[in-house]
Amino acid sequence: MDFRLNEEQQMLQDTVARLVRGEYSFEKRLEFSETEAGFSVDFWKQLGELGLTAVPFSEELGGFDGGGVEVQSVMTELGRGLCLEPYLQSVIFAGGLINQAGNDTQKDTWLAGIASGELQAAVALQEPQSFYDLKDVETRAEKNDSGYVLNGRKAVVIGGHCADLILVSARTSEAADGISLFVLTPDTAGLERRVYPTIDGSKGCDITLTDVQVSAEALVGQQDGAAEVIEYQAGRAIAALCAEAVGAMEAANELTLDYLKQRKQFGVPIGRFQVLQHRMVDMMSELEQARSMSILAASVADEEQSDERRRILAAAKNVIGRSGQFISEQGIQSHGGIGMTWEYNFAHYAKRLIMINHQLGDDDFHLEHYASLLQAS
């Protein structure tokens, strides 16, 4: 049993950390957020050049064959820097889907680009009515002679506003699992995007598909066979998101702790007040729980699917959701007024952490999922 990173993993993490420290000051982040892309195109390019967008892919694709731990190393540091780049969406989730289900042509055409960072992909799996259930798909794909015709609506596609590729799930059969996956380019006729900023400083869009004709080659994996693939890759994305959250929580707690030491009220640092001390301890303790679950999630992220993997990932996302909210809310409270302001760093960590709970299922959603997998012992 050994919880230490090996030398390569440590080097990987240090590389990302250094990069983020150098390029991603708080002020710059605010600027990146206001650009059309909503992130730093330049930083994204650097990630690609350093091979970091290739981490989870095979060596043929220029990658490290990185597993959960390597992804965790990258994501934790991106989380600590509140980075806005679509690493999760493009590299982990979309890349993972094509990697798992795509045929050789699709891998050659798209995966290489995703791994090098030259292509940026997004996943369009949620719908207005779906809440967090990725099997709740009403968008339909009808087979015809030229391929498939898609109709429907996709909700909250983070990074979709400027993606080169969009992976869309659509119902191809009435069976609960009868879902298929299609890869679309945003210029496809009938695909419309409504772009918006998100409250945590990123950007995304809603997508309307009206009689969108795609060729049969746009189908990724088997027809009616996408449900399992999506579930598996969503699990990898959850593990990555947990790591991002842990990085953000670490930074958030450091800010709060600093503030407790420096801010004075009634003639003493506010960290002298026992209530604030104990609250800070609780926040550290929640972070420990989150860190443990991120480690555990990373350890199963690339394992074969099983109820045990499902349980661990649901548990991890549940813990991260709760601890993220606790650390955000209590951190704001401990900061007082300054924690409520745009111009101070903390609030942006809080917003990201709360929004992580709204991606890929919140703590309630995963608690329910875990409960449904509960075993009598």
Binding site: A155, P197, Q333, G337, H358, E368
Partner: protein, 398 residues
């Protein structure tokens, strides 16, 4: 024991309802109920209607143009206001500086300022907090030095709510540095147009401009703008704080927010069913509704006791804490109810006259922003920690 209203109180409630049915502008009510942005003009328009009805200054004696409602009448007004979507009154003039002027000001100040508050001519803001003096208000540093007929004011105030609209500010300033912190403070009324005053917006975490910093650089304030005696400002401020605490629990606002939440939960789906029918979510709503019911009765008990001549004590501080926790819990649930739609933040959707396409649910737009913004409830108006300190002093005697 009788939990019902008297005949007179019921009649008053009918009067309030009739008035609101007739006079509350529909566009304003729609903004309030949909948590949309209210403009300065909205506030002024509504204040004018209230003033004409004679119901604007509910805390003032009749001789100054007030209406002197009983605590129960005020409660009825609050309840109905929340239900109808009446804009929250901006308290700085009518409910904050005015009571101080009435109690401690001189005749000239009363003659000058009270009518202008009633008419809406003046928009007041509050200059209390400073960057180094939040919960520890008495440590404030803004200096006022007497020079002839003027005070020369230098310093900085912060968290000045809606200061961008105001033409007047009431300030706590330090006039004496030789004595204990609380004893060297004075209460000054300052015209915001005086040279040397700069207002700088503070953008809150969700992106709104509601609060400000106000900088004073050699600002000349006529001595007749001093309220009461020099160095006695802390006494007036404390009077005001007691005044302020009742109502901070925001029971009526929580009721309105809960009603909005339930309406939302009856439409938003989870597993193809409305959230209101989901076992988990409905229980979460149930719990907060139950807590609010209890807090509502606690509020009535305080009101009835004040009506009977009592003075609200530890209970009102405890209720401030409980009430803000409840409202934050409702905001949390509302954000949870919209699931992935918590992420998009289209600022323009906060305007009632927004004519773009709404995201999945037109009522979803303000909910994340509101959740973040209302984290302030447990910080401002005396943080919940400070409230608990006060209560523990009262009950522990330590």
């Amino acid at each position: 024991m009788n939990l019902n209203y008297t005949e007179e109180e019921l009649a008053f409630r009918d009067e309030v309802r009739a008035f609101l049915d007739k006079k509350l502008p529909a566009d304003i009510a729609a903004k309030v109920k949909g948590f949309r942005r209210l403009s300065k003009e909205d506030h002024q328009r509504w204040q004018k209607i209230l003033s004409e009805q004679g119901w604007y200054a509910t805390h003032w004696p009749v001789e100054h143009g007030g209406v002197e409602w009983s605590p129960v009448q005020k409660h009825i007004w609050d309840e109905e206001s929340s239900r109808y979507g009446v804009p929250r009154s901006i308290p700085f003039g009518v409910n904050m500086v005015a009571p101080v002027i009435i109690r401690f000001g001189n005749e000239e100040q009363k003659q000058t300022y009270l009518p202008r508050i009633l008419s809406g001519e003046d928009w007041w803001c509050q200059g209390y907090s400073e960057p180094g003096a939040g919960s520890d208000l008495a440590s404030l540093k803004t200096r006022a030095v007497r020079e002839g007929d003027h005070y020369i004011v230098n310093g900085q105030k912060t968290w000045t709510t809606l200061g961008q609209h105001a033409n007047m500010i009431f300030c706590l300033v330090r006039t004496n540095t030789e004595v204990k912190a609380q004893e060297g403070i004075s209460f000054l009324l300052i015209d915001m147009d005086t040279p040397g005053i700069t207002v700088r917006p503070i953008i809150t975490l969700e992106g709104e401009h509601e609060v400000n910093e106000v900088f004073f650089e050699d600002v000349k304030v006529p001595v007749e703008n001093l309220v009461g005696e020099e160095d006695k400002g802390w006494t007036y401020a404390k009077y005001l704080l007691t005044y302020e605490r009742t109502g901070l629990a925001g029971i009526g606002l929580s009721k309105a927010a809960l009603s909005h939440l339930k309406e939302l939960a009856s439409r938003r789906l989870k597993n193809g069913r409305p959230l209101l029918e989901d076992p988990t979510f409905s229980q979460r709503i149930a719990e907060v509704e139950i807590d609010l019911t209890a807090a509502g009765i606690s509020n009535l008990r305080i009101i009835a006791s004040v009506e009977g001549g009592g003075v609200p004590g530890a209970e009102s501080s405890m209720l401030k804490v409980k009430g803000t926790e409840i409202r934050q819990a409702i905001n949390d649930l509302a954000r949870r109810a919209i699931g992935p739609y918590a992420l998009p933040f289209v600022e323009e959707e906060l305007e009632l006259d927004y004519d773009g396409e709404f995201l999945s649910d037109e009522n979803a737009a303000p909910l994340s922003a509101q959740y973040f913004n209302n984290r302030k409830l447990s910080i401002f108006g005396g943080s919940n920690e400070i409230q608990k300190n006060i209560v523990s002093k009262m009950i522990l005697g330590l």
